[in-house]
């Protein structure tokens, strides 16, 4: 239920989370709302805040709980990496920010962009945010561009969708952007259809389109996964550079810890729809606390290796149409305890937070505590 | 009329998949068709009057209890004539498609399976026939052979052979290079065993879907040919011919035009519904619903 919150809001957040977990699976409680406002006054306002976000995909016979109570705050200007195996809900979470989930997806909780809730925002206003203040780069450049349109126009139309500029001006700006993302001779390529470009070049076009209106927040969903290894590094460098130059906040979704190590400031680890650990990159790699995070890092052949892939953790991801109660990692966890049937709250750990009972419960006393928590429900 | 809609079935089923009813609509189609076939078979029992009995007292007689569809310009009972007309319509529709399948499926199998020059030559020939508008091709053939019901059947079958061949060929191409077919080849399975075991089961679904759609159009084409005087000849009870004969008295006796037309539409509808149902059950992923 509850997941790591920001450091400053931790105490309140934890309380809210725990209560929520013990009593019902109800969405946001009053106290956690207070928690975030406290945070806002304490430090710089978070640019993006998730507050107990849940996403359920309603199917004909079953409902899949893809995101289960994620709370998280992104600080303005940081690069936040969100890692996890495929199907852990990281893409769903980013699509929820964009408001691009299919109709059968039901979102609850709050996603606040600069303090304003996106979930309840009218569709028109939300559209105007997309591609303007908040942009997104997709995974596969081969399919994220419209194959029937010239690449230049696909950048220019993004500008014209948000600014009242002439065709001419949009074109000039698009040419500038294409040059900025490293397309050689943009004027000559402007009218090319996407299939004349290599994968790396196409991803540059996608990035140019995403940056067209100088967004404050960029979501990048596995932006390098579909590319060749040598190109991956180039695209990552480009993203890091652009992020600096435009002063953006970046939410980078990846299953590649190497990518995280390379460009992220902080990392969130997701497992089966829950956010299990949040920490600064150095801390996560040096002292991972959640058993899942540890397993992930151990699965890397060498921690130094740049492009280590995940998913070599023993066991299987639970079926999200019938998720286990409590911690969703418990079935693969070497430290499973009875108390794990109750959702652990986010607990501060160094400069980050961990949602695991190991943090709060001494192994010897956990049976007792589980009874207490169970009794409260 | 002849929309080529190849349906690709990529599943690896060894057994020939049995057509399911295809949902409510498919079921409705089968029921309507069943009733119509019964009507055609039992026409001599069901028809209240003779199809050729000319009754001077009932020229343009309006529908009543004993003549539910009214009477035509010669006082003949439209209802009885419609019942009998279904015999010609349905047998020409079904017969022409069966004939086209008998010729087209082997052509498609051979072309798709053999590939190379065989494929090229066969498909060029097929493309040439497809370069003609279907009805024009039928009319050209009738121009050569002269009008008549059997000629109409033959003409429609000839139009359909290339369509059938194309549909079968495209589904053969889908399976031909599948690993399990290549594996069977490597194991030394005979061509016939591969065709029967792997290729045919995958080709049959799309072929059946196409067949039901083609039967629907066969009914329209046959009626159109008769309407133009190029199909069945008077005094045969035939739906298109009845429409042609009654057209001059449209405002005087609209029932002579309304009921045979409805009869055509109903049988076409039945085949179309069956086709949609088959399409769905063979290829549930297809979005064309």
């Amino acid at each position: 239920m509850s997941a790591p919150l920001e450091k400053d809001g931790q105490e309140d957040g934890q309380k809210g989370g725990t209560v929520g977990a013990a009593v019902t699976a109800s969405p946001t409680t009053a106290s956690s709302t207070t928690a975030s406002s406290t945070t806002a006054s304490a430090t710089a306002a978070p640019i993006l805040a998730f507050d107990d976000v849940r996403v359920d995909y309603r199917g004909r016979s079953s409902t899949v709980s893809a995101v289960a109570g994620v709370s998280l705050e992104l600080r303005a200007g940081e690069t936040f990496g969100l890692v996890g195996e495929s199907g852990c809900g990281k893409t769903t979470l980013s699509m929820a920010v964009m408001g691009l989930l299919p109709d059968r997806a039901q979102v609850s909780g709050e996603i606040r962009f600069r303090g304003e809730d996106l979930v309840t925002m009218p569709a028109g206003r939300r559209r105007r945010l997309r591609g303007d203040d908040v942009s997104m780069v997709f995974q596969d450049p081969a399919t994220s561009l419209d194959a029937t349109f010239p690449i230049g126009e696909q950048v220019a139309e993004t500008i014209r969708a948000h600014r009242s500029v002439s065709r001419r001006e949009a074109r000039d700006r698009a040419l500038q952007l294409l040059a900025e993302v490293g397309i050689p001779d943009p004027a000559a390529r402007y009218s090319d259809p996407p299939h004349r470009l290599s994968g790396g070049m196409r991803q540059r076009v996608v990035i140019a389109a995403a940056l067209a209106n100088d967004p404050d927040l960029l979501l990048a969903d596995e932006p390098t996964t579909a590319l060749d290894v040598t190109i991956q590094a180039q695209i990552l460098d480009l993203l890091a550079q652009l992020k600096q130059r435009h002063g953006m906040t970046m939410l980078l979704i990846t299953h590649d810890l190497g990518v995280v190590a390379q460009i992220c400031d902080r990392v969130g680890v997701m497992y089966a729809g829950q956010l299990v650990e949040v920490a600064p990159v150095d801390q996560l790699f040096a002292a991972p606390r959640h058993p899942y995070t540890r397993a992930l890092l151990q699965a890397l052949p060498s921690r130094a290796q740049r492009s280590g892939r995940l998913a070599v953790v023993e066991g299987q991801v639970p079926d999200l149409s019938e998720p286990p109660s409590g911690c969703r990692f418990k079935e693969r966890c070497p430290h499973r305890m009875p108390v794990c049937d109750t959702t652990p709250a986010a607990t501060p750990a160094g400069a980050g937070s961990v949602a695991c009972w190991l943090e709060t419960v001494d192994r010897a006393t956990n049976v007792e505590l589980a009874e207490q928590v169970g009794g409260a429900a | 009329m002849i929309a080529l809609e190849p349906v690709t079935v990529t599943s690896r089923r060894r057994r020939i998949p049995m057509p399911r009813w295809g949902g409510r609509e498919g079921m409705a189609g089968w029921i309507i068709l069943g009733v119509l076939v019964l009507v055609a078979l039992l026409a001599p029992v069901l028809a209240p009057h003779s199809t050729e009995a000319i009754d001077g007292s009932r020229i343009f007689g309006a529908p009543d209890w004993s003549h539910p569809f009214g009477s035509d310009d010669l006082g003949r009972d439209v209802f009885s004539r419609v019942l009998y007309a279904y015999r010609a319509s349905l047998s020409i529709a079904i017969g022409s498609v069966l004939l086209a399948m008998a010729v087209g499926i082997p052509i498609g199998l051979i072309a798709g399976y053999a590939g190379g020059w065989t494929d090229l030559v066969l498909m060029r020939a097929v493309d040439l026939l497809l370069a003609f508008p279907a009805l024009l091709l039928a009319i050209s053939l009738i121009a050569i052979l002269g009008p008549g019901g059997l000629v109409a059947l033959l003409a429609i079958a000839i139009i359909y052979v290339p369509i059938m061949a194309r549909v079968v060929r495209s589904s053969v191409l889908v399976v031909r290079n599948q690993p399990y077919v290549l594996g069977a080849r490597a194991r030394g399975a005979s061509h016939w065993a591969i065709v029967r075991g792997h290729v045919l089961p995958n080709a049959i679904g799309p072929a059946l879907v196409q067949a039901s759609v083609l039967m629907a159009f066969a009914i329209i084409i046959e009626a159109a040919l008769s309407f133009l005087g190029l199909g069945a000849q008077p005094p045969t009870p035939e739906l298109g011919l009845m429409l042609a004969e009654g057209n001059n008295y449209l405002t005087q006796a609209p029932w002579v035009e309304i009921f045979p037309g409805l009869a055509i539409a109903l049988s076409v509808l039945a085949f179309n519904l069956i086709g949609d149902g088959l399409r769905r059950s063979f290829d549930p992923g297809q979005l064309a619903r």
């Binding site: 349109f149 996608v206 | 609509e25 024009l136 050209s140 121009a143 037309g261």
Partner: protein, 319 residues
Amino acid sequence: MTARLAYVGRRILLTIPVLIATSIFVFLLIRLVPGDPVQTMLGIRATPDNVATVRAQLGLDKPLPEQYWTWITGVLHGDLGQDFISHEPITSLLGVSLPITLELTVLAMLLAVLVGVPLGVLAAVKGRWTRRISGGFVVAAISIPEFWLGIMLVLLFTGVLHLLPPNGWVPITQDVGLNITYMILPVLALALGQTAYLLRTTRAAMLGTAGEPYVAFLHAKGLRTRTVIYLHMLRNASGPIVTVAGIQFGVLLGGAIVVENLFALPGVGRMVVGAISNRNYVVVQGGVLVIATLFILVNLLTDIVHGLLDPRVEEAVAR
């Protein structure tokens, strides 16, 4: 741009063998008539002299390849032979009838596109009920033969409402308004089935594009839903739509034959059918050749349009 030109050129070249094969088929049309075609044409009362004259006129006394060569050379020079009843050149008959057939079919196709495509888009993007209703409309509309629909339209608009003339024709050069008045019912009769086909094709093609990642990216760029649907998705869906429209034009030409006969429009279809009953084979030949060629050219055109709308096509052909 050069890739496009190459694509168009290649596609035109591919059409030539088809045209040649078609011409051979049409040429053989007369020669395939069982028995003596000239005797059949002229009837029993024809004198041997008559028969010999017509046979010589058609060149039937020469070997087949030579006959074909003479005939095709004539065709390429605009000589399709002579109607042996009226002694008019076939080309001048076609000069009258072809524009009528073209007007009828082009108007019907235009109507079908203008109604069917937007409805198909709507059926794809709106809710379940729109989808169901449009599904019902499609299956009903394609089940109604165009000539019966035509008869029912006459019954309604002439018999009951007295709004329109039942049949007949006035040259467009004489009176445009009257010409259109006579065209309304034939066009409607012809267009309904086509509308249904285009609706179905459009709906399927639009649904096919809906799940593509690029559509999500277009939304992510903040484009209006309208722009995403009508500018991007529709253009991506245009391939199947244009292709089906091209194939359906052949159906339309076939349907026109029947509709022209029903509404007494003196188009090519009526000319051909009338000629068949008169065993006027030269006229049949000319009419069939013209309609078949027209269909081949329409298919060429749709392929070219498809290539222009979707740049991937030219690439696929070039490979």
